[in-house]
Each structure stands twice: as C-alpha cells, then as structure tokens.
Symmetry: D2
C-alpha cells in the first residue's frame, strides 16, 4: 500500500523502514527537513516539505500515519490534516495519545468525513527488528482497509509459540495487532499495557533492591533510639551477585520476561548501575491508568504504588516527609538523624 | 505505694515525678549517677547506685518499673533483676519492647517466681502533664496489685468526655489504663497503636503535601517526552496557607486529633519546616505491626505504605530506582532527566 | 444577617437552626414542601415555595446558601439562580461539590455579576451541636460580607485549646472557618481534608483488624501446600477486647482523635459490629484527592490504598482475583481452596 | 551420577524423570509406596521403602535430594537423614523452605559432617519439559560435586537467547542454575523471585480488571449520596475482548512474559474464568519477601500490596471494613448500601 508518515523521530523513521521492507511505499514528512532527507535514502520513500504536498502525493483514499509527541503537537497536526485531507481518507495516530484526546480528535476529523484510527504502539527502540505490538481503535471499515500496513508493522505470528488450545486459522491477535473497539479503544488498551509495565518494572526493581541489601547484617548496627534495630543480623549476610541472578532467572523461572531480559542486559553492562541517579520519569500512561481505575471504582494498588515510587524517586514527597519529622519532634522530642 | 524506677531518661524521670505527685514513694536508679542525683531533689525520692541497693530499699513484694531502651539493654536489666529480686516481686517493663521479648523475659523471671508486666506507654514528652496511656499485659494478680500506680500515671477519667452510651461505674479503660491479657498483650496493643500512629501521620503528611503542590499549575510546564504533562494547569493555581488550614481543621472537622494539634503547632513555629530535611526515622513498632499483619494473613496496606514512605525518605530505594531507570533506557532509549 | 437556604436535608436544616440560634434570619426553600413546613416552626424562619419567591423575600445584596447534592443537582440550582438573582448577590455552595465544578459555576454566575463562594463544610450529623468547620473559596469581598454567617456556623474559638505559640488577636482559622483562596480553593481544601479522613479511618480499621485476628494462633493451622503456615502460633494467642482498647486510647495516647472517639462509641453499642456487612461506600472526595495527587505528580500511597480498600470491600477486584487464581492453576497446578 | 530422591509428588517425580533422561541413576523413596512403584517403571530408577535402605543403595559420598513440603515435614526428613547418612554426604533441599530454616537445618547436618545445599526450584508443572531454574546456597565444594545434576535439571543455555554483551565461555547462570552463596542464599534468592512473581501477577491482574470494567459507562449510574458518581461515562464504553488482548501482547510488547503466556492460555480455555471464585492463596514466599524488606528497612510497596490483595481476596479485612462502615454511620449517619 501507499502511506504517508508524519513525524520522523526514532519511532517514525523505524516504522517507515519496516513498512518499506514489507513492500509498502511511503511519503514522509517532518518539520525538520534534515530528518526527511535522511530517510529518503531508503527505497520507495519519497520526502515532502508540507502536509499539502503529502496529501497531493497520495492517492485517495489516503492513509496517513501520525507519529509525533502526544498532546498539543498531535492535536495541531490532526487539526491541520482536517483541513488538508478529504472525506474517506484515514489518519492513524500511532503516538502515545491519551485515549480521551482520540475521542475528541476523531470528532474533528469525522466532521470532514475523515476516519481516525488510534493505534497504541509498543516495542520501543527494538521494534524495528522485533516488530511493534499494535492495539487499534476507531472505525472498523477503516481498520480493515489499513490492515495490510498493520500486518507488516506487527511482529507476526512467529514471534511467539502458539498458545496451547488455539487451533485452526491464525487469529488477528496472534499476528501481533488487534482491533480493540471504537475510537480510543486502542490507546485505552495501550494505556493499561503501560500501567502493567510500571507494575512489572517495579516488581523487578523492588526485588533486586531487597537482594542488594541482603548483606545489611554484615554492617554495624546503629544502636540508638531513632533506629529500628535489626534483631536478626545473621539472616542478612549474603552478597548476592545480582547480575548473575537476573541471568539465571531468564531460563525456566516463572518470572521470565522481556523486562527481565533487558534488566539482565543493563546489569551486564554495568553491575552497579552507577551511571544512573535513580530519578525515574513517567510519561503519562501510568497516571492515566490509575485515573481509569479510580473512575471505574476498581482497586489498582500495585500499579498505583509503582507510579508513586517514581514520583518519590524525584523527591516529590519532601514537604510531606518534613511534616512527619516535625510531628515526631513534637510528640516525642525526636531530632532528625543526619544522613 | 513504694516503687523502684530503673532508667531516668526523659520518660523515666517524668514518670517518677508523676508518681510522687500522686503520693507514691520512689527509689530510683540509673547507670548515670548524675541522672540519679538530679532526680532526688524531688520529694519522696531516694537515689541508689545499684540494683542490689534498689532491692534492699524496697519492701517485699517489690515493684520495679524498668524504663530503658528496648532490645539488648532491657534484656540485660531483666536478667540482672532475675538474680536480684525475690519470688513474688513484680517487674514492669514500661519501655518499647517487642512483645515477643516480653514473652521470653517473662519466662526468665517466672523461673524465679517473679512476675513481669509489660506496659505499653504512650504520651511522649507530654505525658508528665497529660498523663500516659497504659496498655498492660502479664499476670492478672500482679496487675491488680500494682493498679494504684497505673491509676496515678494514667491521664484519668477527666481527660476525655465520656463515650455516649457508657453508664454507671467508670471502667478501667476510661481511666486511661487497661489490662489487655497475658504476657506480651500490653506491648502488642501498644505496637498496633503505633502502627495506627504511622498511618495517621502519613495521612496528614500526604494531604498537606498535596496542598503544598496545589500551585503547580502556576509553574511553567516542561514539554518534553520524559515528563507527563499537566493537562489542566487551571485546576492547580492555589497558594494554600497550610498553617492556617491545619488550625481551622482543629475545630469541628472530622479529622480533629492530637496529631493535627501537634502539626498545627509545628507549622505555627515554622510554616515551611525548613529546619527539617525530611529523613524520617522509625523505631520498630511500625515494622512489627506489619509483620503481625503478615503473620496473621490480614491486609494492612495503609499502615505498611506509611512505613515504606519513611524508608523511602531515607533513600533506601536508590538501587531499585536505578534499576527502573536502566530498564527505561533499555527499552525506550530514555535518558534520565537531571534533577 | 438575612440569608436564604436552598436544600433542607439533614445538613441544610441543621445549618438553618444554627444560624437562627445565632441571631440570623432565614428564608428557606426545598423542592419538598414538607421539609419547608417542618422547618418554619423555628423562630425567624420563613418558608417559600420557589426560588423566585426566595429572591423576592431577601434584600439586596442577597445571600443564598445552597445545600443540595453535588453534581447535576447543584449545577441545576446554580443555573436557575443565575436567572433569578441580581448583580451583587452572593451564592454559597456548602455541599460536597468537586472544586472543578465550582470554577465552572463561578463563571456562570459571574456572567450575571453574581458571586459564588465555595464552602467545604465538615462536621456531619454532629455539626448542629459542635459547629461546622468551614473552608471557603471565591471572591474575597463577598467572603468578608458574609463572614458573620460563617462565624455563627463555625464551632468558634472555644472548641479547642489555643495552639501553643499563638498569641494576641484570635485569627480567623481559630474560630473554625478559613478563607482559602480563589474559586474552588475551599472545596479543594475540603477535598484533601476528606482524603486525610479516608487515610485516618483506614489506619484505625487496619489496626483494629490486626487486633481482631490476634488470636489466630489458637486456631488449628491448616497444613496444606495452599496455605502459608503460621510458623509461630505462640505469638498470636491474645483475645483482645477491642472496645476497651479504643476507649483506653482516648486518653493520653498519640492517636487520640474524634474518629477514635466515634469508633469507641460504635463499639460500645455493638462490640462485634454484626449489623454491618463491611461494604464501604465512598462519595467522591477520596477519588478526587488521589486524582489531584496524580496530576500534581506527588505520591499519596496511604490515601490511595485507603480508597482502594473501600473499592475492594465492594468486591470490585473479583475478575482480577480470578486472573490470579487462573495463573496459579496454570503454572503450579494449584486449585482454588474453598472458602 | 547416582542420586537419591525423597518425595515423589508432582515435582519430585518430574525431577527424577528429567535426571534419568539426562543419564543419571536414581534411587527413589516416598512415604507413599504407590508413588514409589509408579515411578520405578522409569529406566535407571530403583525404589526403596526406607531412608536406611536409600542410604544403603547409594555409594558414598551420597547425594540425596529432598522434595517434600516445607516446614515441619522437611525438618523431620532432615533430622532423620542426620541419623542415617555419613560424613561427607550431601543433602539437597529442593522444596520451598524458608531460608532461615536452611540455616538451622545446615547446622543439624553439619554436626554430622553432612553438607546441605538449599536449592530454590522454579518452573512448576512445566519444569519437566522446560527445565527448572535453580538457585543454590550452601557449601561451595558440595555444590561443585553435585553440579552435573543441576546442569541436567536446569533448562540449559538454549532456553533463552544470549544476553547482548555476554561473550566467550557460557557462564553458570546462562545454563539456568546459580550458586548464590552460603547456606540459605539459594532459597533467599528464590524467595525474592516469588515476591517478584506476586508483583508481576498482580500487575497483570489489576490491568485486566481495569479492562474488564471499561464498559462501566454503559451501565446506569446510581445517583445517590453513597456512590461517587462517574462524571464522564462517555470515556468508559468499551467492551474489550480480554482474551485477544492478552494474546496480542504476547508479540512485540514490553510486557511479554511467561506469566502473560499463561494468562492468555487460561483465558483461551475460559474467557470469563467462571470456574474460579477469586480466592487467591499464598504459600509463604511472598510473606517472607516482605518481612525481608522490612528487616532490611527498604520499601517494597508493590510486592506488599500484591500480597495484601491476596489476603483481601479471602475476606480477611472483613472486621476492618465493618469498622469503616461503623465510623461512617457515626459521623455522617451513612447507612451501608446493600450489595
């Protein structure tokens, strides 16, 4: 198929390469002209310098994939496309948009007869090689039209052994992409995916942190009234080689996972991770997942505490912690211990 | 009554003063002779320089209150008393001992016919004036013998309005002390009390921290891919005077409490709490409460996360946070943001 | 002063009584005529049968207190008042409105020159007697005009001992009401107040639940592979009288609080609380507090897990729990144990 | 090598089969004679009817693998082996023992000159086919002697692609087994592994539960004061096919993992999981992991809340929830809603 790509950052550029490898033809645009020229060395890839030109180069019904930062920038592109494309055309938002924005964007485009597909795209920097896991929402007929693109971008059925019990024809999900429902459903599913990701990451991180401190019984125990004594130091005298532990868990254990593979790889490069300060960012989906849980009225304590651990890593509880110390000073005369 | 006090720190000395005020006669000992002489200026207070001398000064059955740091020091005193006192004597451990230690200590003393009462003592630096809330475990007859002491040390019935529905004779608990059950029961109840204290403190601290950040919408929002954007800054443009808020909540609100009174007092002195760094200590009971919940198999997520917030305030998740950053770098190419 | 009250439910009716007691004159309206006639037996209280009539009975600038359910009903009343009142009039929303709605409502009224004060009102069914803690947002001049009403409704300075360090003139907050800032600030502070309330309540509930199970070591321990064994039953053989424990904590302990008083009162009436099933509702503020924490990017794990415990009490994790059991069956062949 | 196996349950029997497949010779014992005879149909497998006979059939230094329930049963077997085996023999505890018990058991055996290796064994019912991930603690020389057995039981290097950056000779961990340190180190690492497992499982379960409720906006919203209203039902109108979602995530997504594979498989068999009630057991390691975190003083909120969700699924917060409802009744006159 023929497809326009808007946004040639790491993700957008790799998507184009994967599409071209799969036999599709791409017209590419970025507000940065250098990004455009860098990519047009690929076969079957044509660069353009405006959305109008992009529209002109594509045959109707046009298919345009938008891969730009979520939020105001995506909204701006959607609004510009509403004025550039024609009824029957299809826009795919492959970024990390909030699914509520998809619903709004879909209305903007629907007023012009243009379809929006929201496409949650997981795979990170590895997707060029492994393929991207795609979760898609929006108009079903539009999805069906674009399906060959999704099939190319996705990892394909061979990326995992077949689930026991599945038989006969290969289902869509088994190819690594899924039509999830009406507008927003794709990014909703992707949002929850990232929420789970936060929880899994925190699970591994907390476990390794416990292993990291498993030799605390070898240290001198402070004996003052401000410190809970370790009553059984003999149980905490292990120097665990955490790099090797993550490696051994990769084979046969219940927690085998891609995140564990990546952790083993990071520790292989840097067993103490000195190059990191431990200030962990979050980019929205974790927050939105928690808000969804709260709106639905269902408990999500694991995903939420995983999110909060990131906030805390950025010292955002500092005032609250001062309040705690101040209360202890008030009722017990406790002074803060120095670090 | 006549009573021996071992340990004349802030708590021990104030207990002696309150007992003497109540008409009791005290024989006092501390390993620091200065602490002894400082206290013997009080009326009806005799200083001694050894446990043997303490025993000699008291008439049988002797009553000895131990108020020394929990753990090894308390154990040492208990063992020494086992060799110094006589069958029928009564030892009260008023410190912050782990209730499991009480069970062991009671056995050591019971071998000599000596009774141990474990006495959880709440009230902090304010107890001299307000009285101490006492939770007592051990032999019931020993408790009954010592009850006049507890009645003096406790706040007394006037410290709170009568609970609606209570009628007739004043119950023990209404006087501010309670026989809770066999050995360890007193410190068990005190342990859970402190667990609740952690949760209440964290509740106030988290709430005030949210108020402290209520003006985040006035700040420039960073627009990069590593930061979840604040989509609705117009909802976070409040400069809340937190000192006044804690003051207003003291009257008529549902969260009125002594901890809130103390928080208001701390903020009155120092509205920004600059003198605190926010490194919050914990002294054992919070940990033991969580371990009790786990042994019992009952959920205690609020008390536990309150405890963990203290650990985190002391940077004890640093390695785990580095693992999180390392994973993000691996799958998404994300670099850590600087602080 | 003269004041109109819209909404004569428990809270509205008690507010009217307290205002009349304080020397104010009330014109009252409810969509239920019986509620109106029931209240007009009070002195200085006039009933009306429509908002138009209410407006006619009040002298300009009119002061109208709205005390109806938050959400659509409040919005409807606000919109009707926008068409009924005049420039310079003042509306007080004393219900549990979301502070974001206040901002919208204030705009609707401001278009007509009418002021909205949002007034978080804490005190529950006890406020008639104890007074209500008031947290107010909106136009400062409007607040100043209405202040005599707030002073009457609030508990007054005698409701709590003065905070140590406060000297000289009595501050507003010491009287039990506080101007918190522009539109929404009052309900924002009230929202966080309720968030703290959830955390404090859960702290007490978790602690008492641990005490309730403190005799688990007396029970036969199930010895199968599906049940974590209790390795130390000797530490869990206490039958704690929880009613008495809550009573003793009321005097001198660090966790003394109004919520503890109420808990003691509830347990006095019903030590086992058999009349409750344990399905705990939530009415919005706890959720909004968590959403505020997330928007601000600050951790609030205690307040959040307190909220989630309520969701879980209503069986809203059932599908998730089934997923857990299904996974255990898959990897370990574990069958679910019956209840 | 020659090896004795004690305990021929599912795990023990499969271990024997895997060892025999790998060329080792097994002498097998179980207190259930049928289990012994069932297994002696395998090649190179000899059944015995007592530990004495087991010892007699093995050449010194004997290697005996114990695969019986953790706790009292394991302790009994260890003690019996201390009286049956000889100095220089090696016992492997491959069950789910608490690492603290290993330390005690190792001392019992060391008094007779016998070595104990504690061997955390992950893999569940799938280990026969996939191999078992092994984490071993104890005497290093004993480990080296037995290593050929571990190499056979483990999944082997081909079970996962090599971690990028690893070069040259294959490390021990890459073969799926690891010497972790002195006595208890193996089960300590296995314990933390299971703690992580709890967190990962809960992450998936919470995420799927959020997807399961994504259609809540289609339901009638209750409009009473006891229910937080869903202010934006238009955002929760998705009927997500959760079986397909778990399938699509298996390919290319960041959360790809064995637990996800198993979840997809369970949902393939039973999309609504009706056969489960959602009462989730826990078998000890999760609890011990949390206790380790607390003893070390490091935060583990995700692993802990995952554990607590299991407790809550078994209705172990019932009394606490009643306390919450009782408080709400007290301060607000709120009645509990029926289910």
């Amino acid at each position: 198929m023929q497809l326009g790509m808007i946004g040639l950052g790491r993700m957008g550029a790799n998507l184009v390469r994967r599409m071209v490898d799969g036999g599709h033809e791409c017209v590419v645009y970025d507000h940065n002209a250098d990004a455009v020229s860098a990519l047009t060395t690929e076969p079957n890839t044509t660069g353009v310098s405006s959305l109008a030109e992009l529209a002109a180069q594509l045959s109707a019904p046009r298919v345009v994939w938008v891969m730009v930062p979520a939020g105001a920038i995506t909204t701006g592109v959607i609004e510009e496309l509403a004025g550039t494309l024609e009824a029957g055309d299809i826009v795919i938002d492959g970024g990390n948009s909030y699914y509520r924005d998809d619903i709004a964007h879909a209305k903007v485009l629907a007023d012009k007869g243009i379809h929006l597909l929201d496409c949650g795209t997981s795979g990170g920097v590895w997707g060029r090689e492994r393929g991207y896991c795609l979760m898609v929402g929006g108009d079903r007929a539009a999805f069906d039209h674009v399906e060959p693109i999704f099939a190319t971008v996705a990892p394909g059925v061979d990326a995992a052994p077949r689930t026991p019990g599945r038989e006969g024809e290969i289902a869509q999900a088994e190819k690594g992409y899924l039509y999830c429902g009406p507008s927003g459903a794709g990014h909703f599913v992707k949002m929850v995916h990232n929420g789970i990701e936060y929880g899994m990451m925190a699970s591994i991180a907390e476990g390794l942190n416990i292993l990291h401190h498993a030799n605390i019984g070898k240290q001198d125990q402070q004996g003052d009234a401000e410190t809970a004594p370790l009553s059984n130091p003999e149980f905490y005298r292990y120097d665990i080689d955490i790099e090797q532990v993550t490696e051994v868990w990769r084979r046969g254990s219940v927690i085998g996972s891609w995140l564990l593979d990546l952790t083993a790889s990071a520790l292989q490069k840097s067993p103490q991770l000195e190059e990191f300060a431990g200030r962990v960012s979050d980019s929205g989906e974790g927050r939105w997942t928690v808000i969804a849980a709260i709106d639905e009225g269902v408990p999500a304590p694991v995903l939420t505490t995983a999110l909060y651990a990131r906030f805390a890593s950025r010292q955002l509880f500092e005032f609250g912690a001062k309040v705690l110390s101040a209360m202890r000073k008030q009722f017990g005369g406790h002074d803060e211990k120095s670090g």
